[in-house]
Homo-oligomer: 453 residues x 2
């Protein structure tokens, strides 16, 4: 069977990610660990760019939001109060014939009869809940040791520190607490590359407000978050807002939007923006016996704030960036013959490497020295890469394939050997248009900084 163009495209993306060092299978030399991924040299830079930009616009550029960074290991009482110990589970079915354990929705239903998708057997158990949290034992003494969970979402660390942070930050409602960090879910069926994995990173904001502000803030944050994705170069027409219908929403939520993206494997959730009411704080207040109320100085009343939560996935955003950036076009090779060019069209803000610097020839010492000087000139302002090996066309192509925004070439004109007027100028090439311009070396930092920030 022929693969669909989308499936082919996804295969090319996965292959590029490994070939150029964006994403590797975790523990690969030991056969891999299902649902876990390692980010390589370029992947880690892309991920850093996403996280740093999120922190910049969500925390540093605002007066009403502060950050925090909570532990991954979590007290079981936290997750009992939040409902995760009881309810964070998928229904599972066992096939008594082939012993397979299946998610209930994987069971085949034919004319009212349920069948195992593995062996077509019809002897299946009733569905039973399977908790998706990873648990571990903490402490040394057998009688003292206790269960701890790996947090299934970063949000709960924010709720349990709400009172401490309210006190130290002296914020007034509405205000938010933001966090970036790892979370873990023992997914039964990790799939779609890094999209559904067992270890992942979240960027979550809990924005606390008065009850009457909740619905309006839900709209506000949906719009803000859409702007965020556009500002990192995700095309608006691949983004979709789904209003989560009543029956799919968590029972405590008064409104939830999913921001979805058209991945090659289908339209999938990138971020949820949920109005969670006062559910979490009330639960923790009840379970801990500690007041999580806010004192309103104007009305002189105490209230448990409501909360709107924009919750984004770092890995999903990175994957959306790569999928959106991947493209193939035509460019001339060394001899002028047209060939397919693979380009990652990242927004310069997100590109793992902002600028590559090339001496035209590696065996001409003055070219090499000048190129290294330019690297030193640019380095304080951006992530740069120096490359001297291979024909210049090939070096451009290698950078196109990893999405480097700009290329600077030092040639004999730079040395002033051909034309004194061109001394200390270089060729600046833009990745997508492949247009080249001649610019003075001293202007490079200014020109590039304005284009990448």
């Amino acid at each position: 069977m022929n693969k669909s163009p989308d499936a082919q495209r996804m295969e090319k993306i996965v292959s590029l990610c490994k070939r150029r060092g964006f994403i590797f299978q975790s523990s690969e030399i030991y056969g891999g660990l299902s649902g876990c991924w390692d980010y390589g040299p370029l992947g880690v830079e892309l991920k850093r760019n996403v996280k740093n930009y999120w922190w910049r616009v969500m925390v540093h550029e605002r007066d009403d939001i502060v950050g925090m960074d909570g532990a991954i290991l979590t007290h079981p009482e936290v997750l009992k109060a939040s409902g995760h110990v009881e309810g964070f589970s998928d229904p599972m079915v066992d096939c008594r014939t082939c012993k397979a354990r299946l998610r209930a929705d994987q069971v085949i239903e034919k004319k009212g009869i349920q069948q195992c998708p593995n062996c077509s057997g019809r002897d299946l158990t009733q569905p039973r809940p399977f908790n998706l949290m990873f648990q571990t034992q903490m402490g040394a003494a057998a009688d003292e040791s206790s269960i701890a969970y790996l947090r299934p979402e970063t949000a709960q660390s924010i709720f349990v520190q709400f009172k401490n942070i309210l006190e130290v930050s002296r914020k007034k409602l509405p205000f938010g607490i933001a966090q970036i960090g790892k979370a873990f879910r023992n997914e039964i069926n990790p799939r779609n590359f890094t999209f559904r994995s067992r270890e992942f990173e979240q960027m979550e904001l809990e924005y606390f407000c008065r009850p009457e502000e909740g619905m309006e803030l839900l709209e506000y944050w949906k719009e803000e978050r859409l702007k965020f994705y556009e500002n990192i170069g995700i095309s608006r027409d691949r983004l979709h807002v789904k209003t989560v219908p009543d029956e799919e929403r968590a029972f405590y939520s008064r409104g939830t939007y999913d921001i979805e993206y058209d991945f090659p494997f289908g339209r999938q959730e990138l971020e949820g923006v949920a109005y969670r009411t006062d559910y979490d704080l009330s639960q923790h207040q009840k379970a801990s016996g500690k007041s999580l109320e806010y004192f309103d100085e104007e009305t002189k009343q105490r209230l448990v704030p409501h909360v709107v939560e924009p919750s984004a996935g770092v890995d999903r955003t990175v994957l959306a960036l790569i999928c959106g950036a991947y493209s193939e076009d035509e460019a001339p090779d060394e001899k002028g013959k047209m060939e397919t060019r693979i380009v990652l069209r990242f927004h310069p803000r997100m590109a793992p490497i902002k600028c590559a610097v090339f001496p035209l020839l590696k065996n001409k010492e003055p070219l090499v020295a000048k190129a290294k000087e330019i690297v030193d000139l640019l380095r304080p302002h951006m992530h740069v890469f120096y490359d001297e090996s291979g024909a210049i066309g090939r070096r451009y192509r290698r950078q196109d394939e990893i999405g480097t925004s700009f290329g600077v070439t030092v040639d004999f004109e730079t040395l002033g050997e051909k034309d004194a007027a061109l001394r200390d100028t270089v060729t600046l090439r833009e990745r997508d248009s492949m247009k080249q311009e001649r610019v003075p070396v001293k202007d490079l930092p200014g020109i590039l900084v304005s284009r990448i920030s």
Copy 2:
């Protein structure tokens, strides 16, 4: 009993960390989770500054080092090969009288007789090894589910991805792979605030080289790392280099330095710089059956590289910064009476907030508007904080206590109401000296950026 000045100092530091939002006990409202900590609004900024500066000097400013970011969940074969499953343990003793489980070195020895420190009982078991790794179960199907570990160090993710990264980065020896990330150890006795905790963050570099370069690179990295600590404001005379003696070194190491710091609770390890030879790569090559060799194009020979590892703790560095920065001096209060001032004397590079902006009075709209304009002016360049509440002296004091490097005050002179020549100038106050200078608003970004970077 009176507490020692060092113990008193440490108590004040822990109290300040909670009071001002640097560090909170994790899951505090549920009684806390031993050995786990949450970073509050200021702690997370301080931690980000440490990590970003490490990444800048270790990865971005060098041609010979690339980054990566590996998963925390780790395949058991990785940790079998590295020796952690077998050997990463502390010897434990059980007291048969009071049932306490003790680290073997906690047992009291009196005249050749061993006693339980709890109940003074003498009926103790022989020491048995207790593995310090956290383990969990991964996967849904009971028959398929398998053990995974939380990595006890980030280093192993680097070794198992060595070949992939060598291929994609096209680096020649010597070169390094750097990583920042969480690691976990089930410490029997977490202590000294965040110093010895069960969940912590590491900044590790594995610097691969030819065998004959190992000893020289060990010296090189020890010096580089000392410079790093000095560059973030840690005083050189509180840093000590300990040459780890043969009998304390891991058997595969040919040389290890501990970089130690004088904490209030004693001289303790901040970072280890270890020459690990080819132990790790050889172990993984043997266990996985995959070649982890490097092909030397000059000599046309294959070799398993040796490695030098500078391994730093993020949390320990943050704690050293806070302990080193904490100081008390005298400053006049509102009425000119001298009072004790608490100051965190952070290097401006590390300060969580670089500059606070104050309107002299909060009920004068033009002052407030101008101050907010200045916030907008500075924000693209640094983390700034706006504060309008309370007397100006109190606002200074609040910022001193959290280590904000500079304060900018907008007063009636700024508005040009008293002297046209002073229009659009502000008071710039430096935290440590408390010196104030009058500077034009338009010069503020330039002046401040040069002092904080």
